[in-house]
């Protein structure tokens, strides 16, 4: 054969030449350019992209509000400055079944078993776009992407130039200033972001129980944040990114059922993220990412024990102070009345994470991404663990996804995550997906997955109790975890249909799915009389002073539910100056959880709104004038520990004037949220009434 006859030098020299393979070779997709829409037909999942255009048009003033757009997702204010975002319902004050990542770094807080949307370190101005994976994505992103994942991509140093300042004033006495500056020091490019936000919260609320006293809800917030995003590219093959951030502030938290009970929660947070990307060869890329984050919460809610008893126990409502003090002395073996701490959102959480990922492309038909990750979590919280020691946990993960285009019209994806958490057996979460281009611009997809969510450190070791500071006695157990918890499990089946029509810039996606959750974690009433003082640091459990039944809530794997539904989303731009985004979700949840050790089962069907609808439309009138409107509808729902919520329709509007003067480019926006009628989110008193904002942005080019 002729190639056997070829001298080696000829072989060597051909490697130096440009060949047809070089011209036909893949070019890495820059997400900012295509916003992935061109690749949606190849993804084995339903994805919603919230791009910058949508962020601006929505008139949102906080990040969480953006997820009202996403079909099947619910976003709500727990308080004026505390947010919950869930996929397919099951909302609560601290929802934990979604992974939220910023530039590949998980911002899920084990201390809250949730995400602190008000202290992410980044604000709306820092966000370039958001990808939302609607459905289990554990195979790619690990445990917390149990029912979905939110991936926030922030602006990189090269995305912008010069400096910009943006200020927002308006409802809730909101005052916000955000500043950013892009520049370089030698070959180090950076973007510096700085922001300050203050608002006074919702205002007046009324107790839901007698004597129905109205009072001011202290649910305002004041927070300052700083972030730095740096890029260093020493050569064509390597690039290094460093991201640093700090947040410092206070948010008022509490149940808005009782407006007077709000307490300030201080937060001090910082993060560091370092990543290295190396193009080893056209077929091989390496990515190494290391990150650390630390969040410290201090939610002091000091109250005199006598006042607490007076508030919580009807019999003490009108009792003289001496009688209550005598009761305290009797119950505690002679201790005096003293200040106790009601604040639950207190603790320090730290996460260290390292991940190495290799992408290998054999040819245009076969690609593999695989990697390994190590994580170390630390958590301390007197309020939630009942002691002040620091708990830690290690976990390891192996992950991979193989993409195989076995024919021009078919793409198969096989992905899996093997996660091992300390003290539990390793769990394997696989996903298989098949995409079939049935016709030009039309794709049908199917995927099947099984995923596990490991309980967080707090869920595993919870012991939230009222503890007497003077001698460490446990006066009342609120919520605790008596037994070892198993991971939650979800089995999901999804069918999708994607139609793209580039001539009118239209992308329509329809998804039908079934998700079956087993071993779900939920709170269950139990009797503290049966609680033995174990672990040993619980010196005494005295007869429950606040509840004759000595009841407490325990966390257990006691919930099972099945959700089926249909979701549609449509983004189209029929005319160059006008675009629409529509989302609709029908969600049907059936299931139950054991509320009282077999004595009472609660149905879960009311924990998901049956219908959700969102519409965002934007039009440019020319001469810099722009208008956009958002309409959001959600049918009735009852969130865990929230109130019965009626269906709501919400209308938002925004008018903007863009202008340019010399090297300054700016915009002035008038935003009106919920201008049709007020409605309630999460709990009574948490009313969203008409809120107006004015925003001025100036970009110095």
């Amino acid at each position: 054969m002729s190639s056997l006859l070829s001298p080696l030098t000829a072989q060597a020299s051909i490697d130096e030449l440009i060949t047809e393979e070089d011209l036909f070779g893949g070019i890495p997709t820059v997400k900012s350019a295509t916003r992935l829409e061109q690749k949606l037909s190849e993804i084995p999942a339903a994805v919603t992209i919230i791009d910058r255009e949508m962020i601006e048009a929505s008139g949102a003033v906080n990040i969480a509000d953006l997820f009202k757009l996403v079909p099947g997702f619910q976003s709500y204010h727990v308080n004026a400055n505390k947010f919950g975002v869930v996929s397919h319902g099951m909302g609560e004050a601290h929802p934990g079944r979604l992974e939220v990542m910023i530039d590949g770094r998980s911002v899920y807080q084990p201390a809250l078993s949730s995400v602190d949307w008000s202290a992410l370190g980044v604000v709306l101005d820092d966000i370039k776009y958001i990808e939302v994976v609607r459905g289990p994505n554990v195979a790619t992103q690990g445990s917390n992407a149990f029912l979905g994942a939110i991936n926030i991509t922030t602006y990189a140093p090269l995305d912008q130039t010069g400096s910009a300042i943006r200020t927002t004033v308006g409802a809730l006495d909101t005052r916000e200033v955000a500043f950013r500056h892009n520049n370089n020091i030698g070959s180090f490019n950076y973007r510096l972001g700085l922001n300050y936000h203050k608002n006074e919260g919702t205002g007046i609320g009324q107790d839901v129980e007698p004597p129905f006293l109205p009072s001011q809800m202290e649910d305002g917030a004041e927070i300052s944040q700083l972030n730095l995003h740096g890029l260093y590219t020493p050569n064509l093959s390597d690039s290094f990114v460093i991201q640093l951030g700090v947040s410092d502030g206070t948010v008022g938290v509490g149940g808005s059922n009782h407006p007077a009970d709000f307490t300030p929660r201080d937060v001090k947070a910082n993060y560091q993220n370092l990543s290295w990307d190396r193009i080893i060869s056209p077929e091989q890329q390496l990515r190494v990412q290391a990150s650390h984050s630390r969040n410290e919460y201090d939610n002091e809610g000091l109250i005199l024990l006598s006042d607490l008893l007076r508030r919580e126990i009807d019999a003490f409502a009108g009792a003289p102070q001496s009688a209550i003090e005598a009761f305290i002395a009797g119950a505690t073996g002679g201790e005096s009345d003293q200040l106790v701490d009601e604040g639950m959102e207190t603790g320090v959480t730290e996460r260290y994470d390292v991940e190495v990922q290799l992408t290998q492309e054999w040819d245009s038909a076969l690609r593999l991404v695989a990697g390994v990750g190590l994580r170390h979590d630390r958590f301390s919280s007197m309020a939630n663990l009942g002691h002040d020691r620091t708990l830690s946990s290690n976990s390891q993960r192996l992950f991979g996804n193989l993409e195989w285009r076995f024919s021009p019209d078919w793409i198969a994806n096989a992905g899996a995550m093997l996660e091992h958490h300390q003290d539990t057996e390793a769990r394997f979460s696989p996903r298989l997906g098949l995409n079939w281009h049935v016709a030009e611009q039309q794709t049908v997809r199917a995927s099947i997955s099984r995923a596990y969510r490991a309980p967080s450190l707090m869920e595993q070791q919870l012991f939230a109790a009222l503890i007497l500071p003077s001698n460490g006695q446990v006066l009342d157990i609120n919520t605790y975890t008596p037994d070892e918890l198993d991971p939650e499990r979800v089995d999901a089946l999804e069918l999708g249909y994607l139609i793209e029509a580039p001539s009118i810039n239209s992308v329509f996606d329809l998804k039908a799915y079934v998700e079956e959750v087993s071993n779900g974690l939920a709170e269950q009433w139990t009797y503290t009389a049966a609680v033995s003082p174990d672990p040993s640091w619980v010196s005494t459990v005295i007869p429950d002073a606040t509840d004759p039944d000595q009841k407490a809530l325990q966390i257990a794997n006691n919930a099972t539910w099945r959700t089926k539904g249909l979701e549609a989303q449509w983004k189209l731009q029929p005319w160059s100056h006008t675009w629409f985004f529509l989302g609709y979700a029908y969600t049907d949840t059936q299931g139950q959880y054991d509320r009282r050790s077999g004595a009472e089962f609660k149905l879960l069907s009311e924990r998901t709104p049956t219908h959700g609808f969102s519409l965002l439309a934007s039009h440019s009138f020319g001469h810099g004038f722009e208008a956009s409107a958002g309409f959001y509808r959600q049918t009735s729902v009852k969130w865990h520990q929230g109130s019965d919520l009626k269906p709501y329709n919400r209308l938002d509007g925004r008018l903007a004037k863009n202008f340019k003067a010399g090297d300054v480019q700016g915009s002035l926006e008038f935003i009106l949220q919920s201008f049709n009628s007020p409605y309630t989110e999460f709990e009574v008193n948490n009313t969203v009434d008409t809120r107006g904002f004015v925003r001025l942005s100036l970009d110095f080019l």
């Binding site: 190639s3 440009i18 047809e20 011209l23 820059v30 295509t34 590219t233 050569n235 064509l236």
Partner: protein, 323 residues
Amino acid sequence: MDCVMSTRSRGSPFFSTVWWQTALLLLLLFPASSWARQSVLLVLSQDSQPYQALAAALVAQLPARQWQVNSVLAEQYSPTSVQADLIVTVGTLAARDVLQGALHWPVISVLIPRQTFFALCRQQHLVVRKEQGLLSAIYLEQPVDRQLQLARLIDPSIESMGVVLGPNSHDQQPAINAAMAELGWQSRLARFEFNENPIQILEPLSDNSDAILVVPDKAEFNRSIAKWLLLLSYRRNIPLIGFSSRYVDAGATAAVFSTPASIAKDTAAWLERWFVQQGQPLPVPSYPHYFEIRTNPEAARSIGLTLPGMDELEAAMSRDSQP
């Protein structure tokens, strides 16, 4: 009889080997079957896309009553067993293997970059065959003026064009400068080596250009530079002209390029002419006459550019590329 198929998709090497060898054997046994027709041997670099796609498209283009088309993989090619009037090499490996062996037939190399074809035929006997019209090529890339024409059509306000040249494409510089000068555009060239900081070179280039043209180089370079080029062109709101369909997928504003199907059309046209003008020399090595255009409307919109319709674009490009 038409005893050889050339449009097989993936098959095992064993079957491929058996198939081609059987075909060649049949040809040897029944040479009379091809008396009335011209016989062309396609030598394919590999048994995969895009080589098989080109072979299939070429077979579909050539009238079966005039042409007998046989195919062989480069690794199985042997000059001693060739029974053909003309050889078409498909891809760089095939060109190398055929040009290294004994040559008794006219050869057209297709699906090959221009400079690679030149590098492969530096030997004196190949230079002579080229001059005699017995060796020619249809290049894979587009001529610079065609790419500039596309840039002008999508953004008529362009006055200066930034061009990025990698370690293996430096030699394109004179042709690019000449094409720019013809349009009256200022040409801003950036020459790259791998150990250079891409941002420091590309930032001033994008700051001082109305558009950027990417010249294909080795895949490693293409891949490495693309990310920064796309980012910086977006930041500056200037169009980026890529060189492939996949560049447009990744975010380039537009690209003009050849596909296996369009190269097959060019090849068929050359073969038809050669058939009609028996004995005449082959045309000189040329850029392809046929090409495809793709645009990325979303990318264009995000840099504030309104693209002409595809029909309009194709008509203007075809008109301008008429000989």
